[in-house]
């Protein structure tokens, strides 16, 4: 089940205490696709990590459905991410020595025993849906596009309500990027997952329901509010 997002009074500071991102109000309905753009260093990725509950020096409220992740302790925040959030990174961050299946099913390793098989099965289905070959080869031998699709399968293997992607196409050539954009948005829409993607890639942003611009640590005027 997808989760709606509501961010209020978010104030993200650097370790030295300087405010690097400030979001007064941001709302996103469940299952929406949100693109975040902006110049480098403007605070796009910071927004992504903050709403995932990963930024330690942050204040305010980030509600995913009824849960305010900012109000949770470290362990419960982690558990919330494990249950509800899938993440995709610019440079894939796979275990190069493991196969596509083992990478895609990575999060099963720390889930309860009875859920491991389920996550493993879903990882297999996702990999097939993303047209990745069923092979025991380590992903080190895969192309960039294939690796990022393995990362997408990993992000979706536990059927998360939220998918957060940080520059998912930045390390790919155009053709691979286009294919990934197609697969990513199709899978998010099919499963009703809320997708927030930080990107400079116009092709990706054009497939989003809504695009925000982050500039100088703030959401550009006229773009906040309800989508």
């Amino acid at each position: 089940m997808a989760l709606p997002l509501r961010v209020t009074g978010l104030d993200v500071r650097s370790p030295r205490g300087r405010t690097i991102l400030s979001v007064e109000d941001l709302q996103l309905p469940a299952g929406a696709l949100l693109g975040v753009r902006g110049p480098s260093g403007a605070g796009k990725s910071t927004l992504l990590y903050a709403i995932a509950g990963l930024w330690p020096q942050a204040a305010g409220a980030v509600h995913w459905g009824d849960t305010d992740v900012m109000g949770l302790g470290e362990a419960r925040r982690t558990a919330f991410r494990a249950a509800n959030i899938g993440m995709i990174f610019q440079d894939f961050l796979l275990f190069e020595e493991l196969s596509a299946q083992d990478n895609a099913a990575l999060t099963s390793l720390f889930r309860p025993r009875d859920r491991r098989r389920q996550v493993g099965e879903r990882a297999r289905t996702r990999l097939a849906a993303l047209s990745l070959p069923e092979t025991a080869r380590p992903v080190a031998s895969f192309s960039g596009g294939e690796r990022q699709r393995v990362a997408v399968a990993r992000a979706l293997a536990h059927d998360p309500a939220i998918l957060l992607a940080d520059e998912p196409t930045a390390s790919l050539h155009r053709e691979a990027a286009d294919r990934l954009i197609h697969d990513l948005t199709a899978l998010a829409k099919d499963s009703g997952t809320t997708l927030i993607a930080v990107s400079h890639d116009v092709a990706l942003l054009s497939r989003m329901d809504r695009v925000l611009t982050v500039q100088d640590g703030r959401i550009a005027r006229g773009e906040s509010g309800v989508a």
């Binding site: 910071t46 470290e74 959030i85 961050l93 275990f95 999060t107 390793l109 720390f110």
Partner: protein, 437 residues
């Protein structure tokens, strides 16, 4: 409680100690790994840094191997020496250093010592509780082999009557140890003196013939050539222990008047208690002394015991230093996968799971290193044993026993628990900063 413990077989005690030593690892493993499956990730990390890991394992193995190899070697040498002295219940000699005398009589290390005269020998040999009183005569050699004069009775006792060939029947016949490069029927001319100071031509014309060979005993006597004590005296131009009218007679009884003297008499009594009585009876100020080689060795071990403790301490300190460098290495290595750790945390991996992956990685290296170290210790001990055996003729067995296992386990246990530190330190790393690194 103490009685129960003392009543347990040694193996049971060793197993119990090993289990106790393993307990901290088991507890850490149980707490960290319960409910998780970190093995595939640990395997991946082990493979990724395989060369660095191999180096680590070797470092640990060499440290553990050296530690337990040395201790096993020291024990092997001690057992070998005790075994070499086994047949020498009581030694009677002129007063002097018991240690020097023991080294000369039991381990055939040449030294200048005083002599017991014929009356003293007659008194010892004639004592009612003495079964064998064998005079020894040293001073000649053939190559590396010391030539020792004694009696046929003592040779039979020393070899348990298992001679290849036959016992000497006349002066000029010899029995060789198994390590002497002479065969049955070979002849040889002994040199006067031993080692570098030996004079090869001093006994020219005195050719001896090998008639028998002793079985291997694992003692310095394996390299010795035994001849009738009379022969030694004769080739040195002395009386041969018998009155001229006795003719070619060899072996006891000896005539005190024609007895040139012996540095040591090996005494054997059938009854254990008799040895103690003989020792006190033959210990007289300025006349003679009697001692148990086993007791002298025991005293030596007591002194060596301090050395052994110092060795153990040095070995322990070395292992602590290695453990410290291993931990430092684990810190450095774990830095290499801090991005992966940040990714795991971002994906919702609990702290305990991440700690389990990193700790399992360190514990695997330590376990492999300690296991390989035990193997290396065994090999090192076997090689050292061979060298010591060749150089001293004291049979030293590479006996890596259960007593070395707790040493390796203690190292493994302590370092595995310490391996929690780099694992926990990694959890304090900032997630976002490492994801972006």
């Amino acid at each position: 409680m103490r009685d129960v413990w003392d009543g347990l077989p040694v193996l049971a005690q060793d197993l119990f100690i090993s289990a106790v030593l393993l307990l901290p690892i088991l507890i850490v493993a149980l707490v960290l790994l319960r409910g998780y499956a970190p093995f595939p990730l640990t395997r991946a990390i082990l493979w990724r840094f395989r060369w660095a890991n191999l180096l680590f394992v070797l470092l640990i193995a060499v440290s553990v191997g050296m530690g337990i190899g040395l201790i096993a070697q020291e024990r092997g040498l001690r057992q070998g020496m005790a075994q070499a002295a086994d047949k020498f219940d009581l030694v009677v000699s002129a007063p002097g250093s018991e240690l020097t005398m023991m080294l000369a009589a039991v381990f055939l290390q040449p030294s200048d010592v005083g002599l017991l005269d014929g009356d003293a020998y007659a008194e010892i040999a004639g004592h009612e509780n003495v079964d064998i009183a064998a005079p020894l005569a040293f001073g000649d050699s053939y190559g590396d082999a010391p030539v020792v004069g004694t009696t046929a009775e003592f040779v039979r006792y020393l070899t348990d009557d298992r001679l290849e060939g036959r016992m000497w029947e006349r002066s000029g016949e010899a029995i060789v140890g198994p390590a002497v490069p002479l065969g049955l029927g070979d002849g040889f001319v002994p040199a006067h003196g031993v080692g570098a100071a030996a004079e090869a031509g001093a006994h020219a014309g005195v050719e001896m013939q090998v008639v028998g060979r002793m079985p291997r005993t694992g003692t310095p006597w394996d390299r010795a050539i035994l001849i009738p004590v009379e022969t030694v005296w004769e080739v040195h131009g002395l009386a041969n222990g018998h009155a001229p009218e006795a003719g070619d007679r060899i072996g006891p009884p000896f005539d005190a008047k024609y007895f040139p003297g012996t540095p040591a008499v090996i005494v054997r009594a059938e009854e254990l208690w008799a040895n103690y009585a003989l020792r006190s009876e033959f210990t007289r100020d300025s006349e003679m002394m009697a001692f148990f080689p086993g007791t002298v060795l025991g005293n030596l071990y007591r002194i060596m015991g301090d050395v052994r403790q110092a060795m153990s301490l040095m070995s322990a300190v070395t292992q602590v230093l290695v453990a410290a460098s291993v931990l430092l290495g684990l810190f450095i290595l774990s830095r290499l996968f801090q991005r992966q750790v940040a990714m795991l945390r971002a994906l919702g991996a609990p702290l305990r799971f991440v700690a389990a992956v990193v700790w399992l990685y360190g514990a695997t290296l330590l376990t492999l290193g300690a296991a390989l170290g035990v193997g290396l210790g065994f090999v090192a001990s076997a090689v050292l044993s061979r060298i010591v055996t060749v150089r001293t003729d004291i049979l030293v067995n590479a006996s890596l026993g259960w007593s070395e296992v707790p040493l390796a386990l203690a190292f493994l246990s302590a370092t595995s628990v310490l391996a929690l530190i780099p694992a926990l330190a990694l959890l304090r790393q900032p997630i976002v900063a490492n994801l972006r690194a």
